[in-house]
Symmetry: C2
Amino acid sequence: MAKTNQKWHERFRDRGLRFTQPRRVILDVLDNTADHLSAEEIYMRVHKKYPNIGLTTVYRNLITLERMGIVTKFHFGDGCHRFELIENKKKPDHHHHLVCTGCKRIIDYDDFMDEEIEYIKKVESALSRKHSFNITDHVIQFYGLCKKCKAA
Amino acid sequence: MAKTNQKWHERFRDRGLRFTQPRRVILDVLDNTADHLSAEEIYMRVHKKYPNIGLTTVYRNLITLERMGIVTKFHFGDGCHRFELIENKKKPDHHHHLVCTGCKRIIDYDDFMDEEIEYIKKVESALSRKHSFNITDHVIQFYGLCKKCKAA
DNA sequence: TTAATAATGATAACCGGTAGCAATTAGTAA
DNA sequence: TTACTAATTGCTACCGGTTATCATTATTAA
Ligand SMILES: [Mn+2]
Ligand SMILES: [Mn+2]
Ligand SMILES: [Zn+2]
Ligand SMILES: [Zn+2]
Protein backbone atom coordinates (compact mmCIF):
# COMPACT_ATOMS: atom_id res chain seq x y z
CA MET A 1 0.00 0.00 0.00
CA ALA A 2 2.63 2.47 1.05
CA LYS A 3 4.90 1.51 -1.83
CA THR A 4 2.03 1.69 -4.27
CA ASN A 5 1.31 5.19 -3.10
CA GLN A 6 4.98 5.92 -3.61
CA LYS A 7 4.66 4.75 -7.19
CA TRP A 8 1.59 6.87 -7.82
CA HIS A 9 3.29 9.80 -6.23
CA GLU A 10 6.15 9.55 -8.67
CA ARG A 11 3.87 9.31 -11.66
CA PHE A 12 2.16 12.52 -10.67
CA ARG A 13 5.37 14.30 -9.79
CA ASP A 14 6.91 13.36 -13.14
CA ARG A 15 4.17 15.39 -14.79
CA GLY A 16 4.34 18.30 -12.41
CA LEU A 17 1.09 17.20 -10.77
CA ARG A 18 0.45 16.82 -7.08
CA PHE A 19 -0.51 13.71 -5.20
CA THR A 20 -3.50 14.99 -3.31
CA GLN A 21 -5.78 13.27 -0.87
CA PRO A 22 -8.70 13.07 -3.31
CA ARG A 23 -6.45 11.41 -5.85
CA ARG A 24 -5.16 8.98 -3.26
CA VAL A 25 -8.71 8.06 -2.28
CA ILE A 26 -10.03 7.75 -5.84
CA LEU A 27 -7.16 5.47 -6.78
CA ASP A 28 -7.80 3.42 -3.67
CA VAL A 29 -11.44 2.96 -4.63
CA LEU A 30 -10.53 1.98 -8.19
CA ASP A 31 -7.84 -0.43 -7.03
CA ASN A 32 -10.17 -2.21 -4.65
CA THR A 33 -12.99 -3.12 -6.96
CA ALA A 34 -13.52 -5.45 -9.86
CA ASP A 35 -16.48 -3.39 -11.01
CA HIS A 36 -16.70 -0.81 -13.76
CA LEU A 37 -17.76 2.22 -11.80
CA SER A 38 -19.33 5.42 -13.02
CA ALA A 39 -18.11 8.78 -11.75
CA GLU A 40 -21.04 9.00 -9.38
CA GLU A 41 -20.48 5.51 -8.06
CA ILE A 42 -16.86 6.35 -7.42
CA TYR A 43 -17.95 9.54 -5.74
CA MET A 44 -20.33 7.67 -3.45
CA ARG A 45 -17.62 5.27 -2.32
CA VAL A 46 -15.21 8.12 -1.83
CA HIS A 47 -17.85 10.07 0.01
CA LYS A 48 -18.44 7.36 2.61
CA LYS A 49 -14.97 7.77 4.05
CA TYR A 50 -14.21 11.33 2.98
CA PRO A 51 -17.48 13.29 2.87
CA ASN A 52 -15.66 16.52 2.19
CA ILE A 53 -14.43 15.44 -1.25
CA GLY A 54 -16.66 16.82 -3.97
CA LEU A 55 -18.21 15.24 -7.03
CA THR A 56 -16.55 17.74 -9.33
CA THR A 57 -13.17 16.71 -8.03
CA VAL A 58 -13.94 13.11 -8.88
CA TYR A 59 -14.91 14.02 -12.42
CA ARG A 60 -11.84 16.18 -12.87
CA ASN A 61 -9.48 13.57 -11.60
CA LEU A 62 -10.94 10.83 -13.72
CA ILE A 63 -10.10 12.94 -16.73
CA THR A 64 -6.61 13.48 -15.39
CA LEU A 65 -6.12 9.78 -14.67
CA GLU A 66 -7.28 8.90 -18.14
CA ARG A 67 -4.84 11.37 -19.67
CA MET A 68 -2.07 9.86 -17.60
CA GLY A 69 -2.90 6.39 -18.89
CA ILE A 70 -3.75 5.12 -15.44
CA VAL A 71 -7.44 4.65 -16.04
CA THR A 72 -9.55 3.65 -19.03
CA LYS A 73 -12.92 5.17 -19.79
CA PHE A 74 -15.68 3.07 -21.33
CA HIS A 75 -19.14 3.58 -22.68
CA PHE A 76 -21.35 0.53 -22.40
CA GLY A 77 -24.61 2.00 -23.61
CA ASP A 78 -26.18 3.04 -20.35
CA GLY A 79 -26.10 6.79 -20.07
CA CYS A 80 -22.72 7.26 -18.40
CA HIS A 81 -19.02 6.65 -18.62
CA ARG A 82 -17.42 3.88 -16.60
CA PHE A 83 -13.87 3.64 -15.41
CA GLU A 84 -11.34 0.93 -14.77
CA LEU A 85 -7.84 1.01 -13.35
CA ILE A 86 -5.53 -0.35 -15.99
CA GLU A 87 -3.14 -2.06 -13.58
CA ASN A 88 -5.62 -3.72 -11.29
CA LYS A 89 -4.62 -6.98 -9.62
CA LYS A 90 -8.20 -8.16 -9.57
CA LYS A 91 -8.46 -8.23 -13.35
CA PRO A 92 -6.81 -9.87 -16.30
CA ASP A 93 -4.24 -7.59 -17.91
CA HIS A 94 -5.62 -7.28 -21.39
CA HIS A 95 -9.31 -8.03 -21.52
CA HIS A 96 -12.53 -7.08 -23.21
CA HIS A 97 -16.15 -6.87 -22.21
CA LEU A 98 -19.36 -8.79 -22.36
CA VAL A 99 -22.33 -6.58 -21.56
CA CYS A 100 -25.83 -7.66 -20.60
CA THR A 101 -28.30 -5.27 -22.16
CA GLY A 102 -30.89 -6.40 -19.62
CA CYS A 103 -29.30 -5.94 -16.20
CA LYS A 104 -26.26 -3.98 -17.43
CA ARG A 105 -23.85 -6.44 -15.87
CA ILE A 106 -20.35 -6.25 -17.32
CA ILE A 107 -18.10 -9.27 -17.54
CA ASP A 108 -14.36 -9.10 -18.15
CA TYR A 109 -13.06 -11.82 -20.40
CA ASP A 110 -9.71 -12.71 -21.86
CA ASP A 111 -10.52 -15.80 -23.89
CA PHE A 112 -8.95 -16.06 -27.32
CA MET A 113 -6.71 -13.11 -26.67
CA ASP A 114 -4.03 -14.67 -28.89
CA GLU A 115 -6.37 -14.93 -31.86
CA GLU A 116 -7.66 -11.51 -31.12
CA ILE A 117 -4.27 -9.91 -30.92
CA GLU A 118 -3.39 -11.52 -34.21
CA TYR A 119 -6.53 -10.20 -35.84
CA ILE A 120 -6.01 -6.77 -34.40
CA LYS A 121 -2.44 -6.64 -35.62
CA LYS A 122 -3.55 -7.55 -39.11
CA VAL A 123 -6.29 -4.97 -39.23
CA GLU A 124 -4.13 -2.32 -37.69
CA SER A 125 -1.31 -2.71 -40.14
CA ALA A 126 -3.68 -2.85 -43.10
CA LEU A 127 -5.64 0.19 -42.01
CA SER A 128 -2.54 2.10 -41.04
CA ARG A 129 -1.16 1.62 -44.51
CA LYS A 130 -4.39 2.14 -46.38
CA HIS A 131 -5.52 5.27 -44.55
CA SER A 132 -2.23 6.59 -43.15
CA PHE A 133 -3.75 6.14 -39.74
CA ASN A 134 -1.83 5.83 -36.54
CA ILE A 135 -3.91 3.40 -34.51
CA THR A 136 -3.48 3.68 -30.77
CA ASP A 137 -6.47 1.95 -29.26
CA HIS A 138 -9.44 -0.27 -29.89
CA VAL A 139 -12.79 -1.17 -28.39
CA ILE A 140 -14.22 -4.66 -28.59
CA GLN A 141 -17.46 -5.40 -26.80
CA PHE A 142 -20.09 -8.09 -27.05
CA TYR A 143 -23.67 -7.38 -26.14
CA GLY A 144 -26.42 -9.78 -25.22
CA LEU A 145 -28.54 -11.22 -22.46
CA CYS A 146 -27.19 -12.98 -19.41
CA LYS A 147 -28.66 -16.18 -18.02
CA LYS A 148 -31.08 -14.42 -15.67
CA CYS A 149 -32.23 -11.84 -18.19
CA LYS A 150 -32.72 -14.51 -20.83
CA ALA A 151 -35.05 -16.41 -18.54
CA ALA A 152 -37.02 -13.39 -17.40
CA MET B 1 -37.22 6.18 -54.87
CA ALA B 2 -40.91 5.42 -55.12
CA LYS B 3 -40.39 1.72 -54.68
CA THR B 4 -38.05 2.28 -51.76
CA ASN B 5 -40.71 4.33 -50.07
CA GLN B 6 -43.11 1.52 -50.79
CA LYS B 7 -40.75 -0.87 -49.00
CA TRP B 8 -40.43 1.40 -45.98
CA HIS B 9 -44.16 1.84 -45.95
CA GLU B 10 -44.63 -1.88 -45.65
CA ARG B 11 -42.14 -2.25 -42.86
CA PHE B 12 -43.97 0.34 -40.84
CA ARG B 13 -47.38 -1.05 -41.62
CA ASP B 14 -46.31 -4.54 -40.63
CA ARG B 15 -45.75 -3.21 -37.15
CA GLY B 16 -48.88 -1.14 -36.99
CA LEU B 17 -46.85 2.02 -37.42
CA ARG B 18 -47.50 4.84 -39.81
CA PHE B 19 -45.30 6.11 -42.59
CA THR B 20 -45.33 9.79 -41.82
CA GLN B 21 -43.67 12.69 -43.55
CA PRO B 22 -41.03 13.14 -40.84
CA ARG B 23 -40.10 9.47 -41.15
CA ARG B 24 -39.92 9.73 -44.90
CA VAL B 25 -37.63 12.73 -44.65
CA ILE B 26 -35.39 11.28 -41.96
CA LEU B 27 -34.93 8.08 -43.93
CA ASP B 28 -34.16 10.14 -47.00
CA VAL B 29 -31.44 12.04 -45.16
CA LEU B 30 -29.94 8.84 -43.81
CA ASP B 31 -30.04 7.13 -47.18
CA ASN B 32 -28.30 9.98 -48.93
CA THR B 33 -25.22 10.32 -46.81
CA ALA B 34 -22.13 8.28 -46.15
CA ASP B 35 -21.63 10.10 -42.85
CA HIS B 36 -22.42 9.02 -39.35
CA LEU B 37 -24.81 11.74 -38.29
CA SER B 38 -25.90 12.76 -34.84
CA ALA B 39 -29.55 13.44 -34.07
CA GLU B 40 -28.95 17.15 -34.26
CA GLU B 41 -27.11 16.88 -37.55
CA ILE B 42 -30.00 14.87 -38.98
CA TYR B 43 -32.38 17.46 -37.61
CA MET B 44 -30.49 20.27 -39.31
CA ARG B 45 -30.59 18.54 -42.68
CA VAL B 46 -34.25 17.74 -42.22
CA HIS B 47 -34.91 21.28 -41.10
CA LYS B 48 -33.50 22.82 -44.28
CA LYS B 49 -36.26 21.34 -46.40
CA TYR B 50 -38.96 20.86 -43.78
CA PRO B 51 -38.56 23.57 -41.14
CA ASN B 52 -41.76 22.50 -39.41
CA ILE B 53 -40.38 19.13 -38.34
CA GLY B 54 -39.19 19.24 -34.74
CA LEU B 55 -36.04 18.00 -33.07
CA THR B 56 -37.98 15.81 -30.67
CA THR B 57 -39.56 14.02 -33.58
CA VAL B 58 -36.14 13.25 -34.97
CA TYR B 59 -34.98 11.83 -31.64
CA ARG B 60 -38.13 9.77 -31.25
CA ASN B 61 -37.98 8.34 -34.73
CA LEU B 62 -34.34 7.41 -34.44
CA ILE B 63 -35.30 5.29 -31.46
CA THR B 64 -38.13 3.77 -33.47
CA LEU B 65 -35.89 3.09 -36.45
CA GLU B 66 -33.33 1.46 -34.21
CA ARG B 67 -35.98 -0.78 -32.65
CA MET B 68 -37.12 -1.75 -36.12
CA GLY B 69 -33.60 -2.74 -37.08
CA ILE B 70 -33.42 -0.15 -39.83
CA VAL B 71 -30.80 2.03 -38.19
CA THR B 72 -27.81 1.40 -35.97
CA LYS B 73 -26.80 3.68 -33.13
CA PHE B 74 -23.13 4.20 -32.30
CA HIS B 75 -21.09 5.94 -29.70
CA PHE B 76 -17.67 7.05 -30.91
CA GLY B 77 -16.48 8.94 -27.87
CA ASP B 78 -17.64 12.43 -28.69
CA GLY B 79 -20.58 13.34 -26.53
CA CYS B 80 -23.42 12.09 -28.73
CA HIS B 81 -24.95 9.15 -30.49
CA ARG B 82 -24.50 8.72 -34.19
CA PHE B 83 -26.73 6.88 -36.61
CA GLU B 84 -26.33 4.88 -39.77
CA LEU B 85 -28.83 3.29 -42.11
CA ILE B 86 -28.15 -0.42 -42.14
CA GLU B 87 -29.06 -0.93 -45.79
CA ASN B 88 -27.28 1.99 -47.34
CA LYS B 89 -26.02 1.64 -50.89
CA LYS B 90 -23.16 4.00 -50.19
CA LYS B 91 -21.59 1.70 -47.62
CA PRO B 92 -20.21 -1.79 -47.35
CA ASP B 93 -22.75 -4.20 -45.91
CA HIS B 94 -20.95 -5.40 -42.84
CA HIS B 95 -18.30 -2.97 -41.70
CA HIS B 96 -16.59 -1.53 -38.71
CA HIS B 97 -15.10 1.81 -37.81
CA LEU B 98 -11.85 3.64 -37.63
CA VAL B 99 -12.13 6.81 -35.58
CA CYS B 100 -9.73 9.75 -35.53
CA THR B 101 -9.53 11.06 -31.99
CA GLY B 102 -8.21 14.33 -33.37
CA CYS B 103 -10.73 15.51 -35.96
CA LYS B 104 -13.41 12.90 -35.11
CA ARG B 105 -13.51 11.63 -38.66
CA ILE B 106 -15.05 8.18 -38.97
CA ILE B 107 -13.98 5.74 -41.64
CA ASP B 108 -15.95 2.65 -42.61
CA TYR B 109 -13.80 -0.34 -43.36
CA ASP B 110 -14.46 -3.93 -44.28
CA ASP B 111 -10.97 -5.31 -44.60
CA PHE B 112 -10.36 -8.72 -43.07
CA MET B 113 -14.04 -9.28 -42.46
CA ASP B 114 -13.55 -13.00 -42.98
CA GLU B 115 -10.94 -13.25 -40.28
CA GLU B 116 -13.01 -11.07 -38.09
CA ILE B 117 -16.18 -13.04 -38.50
CA GLU B 118 -14.23 -16.15 -37.67
CA TYR B 119 -12.81 -14.59 -34.53
CA ILE B 120 -16.20 -13.28 -33.50
CA LYS B 121 -17.83 -16.65 -33.98
CA LYS B 122 -15.18 -18.28 -31.82
CA VAL B 123 -15.48 -15.76 -29.02
CA GLU B 124 -19.23 -15.74 -29.15
CA SER B 125 -19.58 -19.48 -28.87
CA ALA B 126 -17.01 -19.68 -26.09
CA LEU B 127 -18.55 -16.86 -24.10
CA SER B 128 -22.07 -18.09 -24.68
CA ARG B 129 -21.13 -21.44 -23.22
CA LYS B 130 -18.96 -20.15 -20.42
CA HIS B 131 -21.33 -17.47 -19.15
CA SER B 132 -24.68 -18.73 -20.46
CA PHE B 133 -24.90 -15.55 -22.43
CA ASN B 134 -27.03 -14.99 -25.47
CA ILE B 135 -24.89 -12.71 -27.60
CA THR B 136 -26.78 -10.57 -30.07
CA ASP B 137 -24.42 -7.80 -31.03
CA HIS B 138 -20.88 -6.52 -30.95
CA VAL B 139 -18.90 -3.33 -31.26
CA ILE B 140 -15.46 -3.23 -32.84
CA GLN B 141 -13.77 0.12 -33.26
CA PHE B 142 -10.21 1.28 -33.80
CA TYR B 143 -9.07 4.63 -32.53
CA GLY B 144 -6.10 6.69 -33.60
CA LEU B 145 -4.89 9.71 -35.49
CA CYS B 146 -5.51 10.32 -39.16
CA LYS B 147 -2.85 11.61 -41.53
CA LYS B 148 -3.69 15.27 -40.99
CA CYS B 149 -3.98 15.03 -37.23
CA LYS B 150 -0.73 13.10 -37.00
CA ALA B 151 1.08 15.89 -38.79
CA ALA B 152 -0.49 18.71 -36.82
C1' DT C 1 8.70 28.38 6.62
C1' DT C 2 7.31 30.36 2.88
C1' DA C 3 6.10 31.55 -1.67
C1' DA C 4 4.14 29.88 -5.95
C1' DT C 5 0.64 27.63 -7.98
C1' DA C 6 -1.90 23.27 -8.59
C1' DA C 7 -5.98 21.59 -6.93
C1' DT C 8 -10.31 21.70 -4.54
C1' DG C 9 -15.33 22.39 -3.49
C1' DA C 10 -19.64 24.92 -3.98
C1' DT C 11 -22.60 26.68 -7.28
C1' DA C 12 -24.42 27.56 -11.55
C1' DA C 13 -24.47 26.50 -16.17
C1' DC C 14 -24.37 23.36 -20.14
C1' DC C 15 -25.97 19.93 -23.29
C1' DG C 16 -27.80 15.66 -25.26
C1' DG C 17 -31.71 13.55 -24.66
C1' DT C 18 -36.92 12.73 -22.67
C1' DA C 19 -41.60 13.31 -20.63
C1' DG C 20 -46.09 15.48 -20.88
C1' DC C 21 -49.74 17.02 -23.40
C1' DA C 22 -52.80 19.31 -26.56
C1' DA C 23 -53.09 19.56 -31.58
C1' DT C 24 -52.45 17.13 -35.93
C1' DT C 25 -52.45 13.43 -39.30
C1' DA C 26 -52.27 8.73 -41.35
C1' DG C 27 -54.84 4.75 -42.05
C1' DT C 28 -59.13 2.34 -42.10
C1' DA C 29 -63.99 1.46 -42.43
C1' DA C 30 -68.37 3.29 -43.81
C1' DT D 1 -65.17 10.82 -49.89
C1' DT D 2 -66.03 11.25 -45.22
C1' DA D 3 -65.67 10.36 -40.68
C1' DC D 4 -63.45 8.10 -37.00
C1' DT D 5 -59.61 6.61 -34.14
C1' DA D 6 -55.31 6.00 -32.63
C1' DA D 7 -50.60 6.98 -33.76
C1' DT D 8 -47.69 10.78 -34.18
C1' DT D 9 -46.17 15.36 -33.90
C1' DG D 10 -44.25 19.73 -32.03
C1' DC D 11 -44.17 22.62 -28.21
C1' DT D 12 -42.25 23.31 -23.72
C1' DA D 13 -40.39 22.14 -19.58
C1' DC D 14 -37.51 19.07 -17.64
C1' DC D 15 -33.73 15.52 -16.53
C1' DG D 16 -29.14 13.59 -15.46
C1' DG D 17 -24.36 13.51 -16.56
C1' DT D 18 -20.77 16.53 -17.06
C1' DT D 19 -18.16 20.99 -17.19
C1' DA D 20 -16.95 26.09 -16.30
C1' DT D 21 -16.26 29.61 -12.81
C1' DC D 22 -13.96 31.33 -9.08
C1' DA D 23 -12.72 32.19 -4.43
C1' DT D 24 -10.37 29.21 -1.05
C1' DT D 25 -7.15 25.54 0.32
C1' DA D 26 -3.30 22.44 0.20
C1' DT D 27 0.94 20.51 -1.93
C1' DT D 28 5.52 21.09 -3.00
C1' DA D 29 10.12 22.92 -4.14
C1' DA D 30 13.16 26.30 -2.46
MN1 LIG E 1 -13.08 -4.50 -17.58
MN1 LIG F 1 -20.27 3.10 -40.61
ZN1 LIG G 1 -28.53 -9.54 -17.34
ZN1 LIG H 1 -8.08 13.39 -37.78
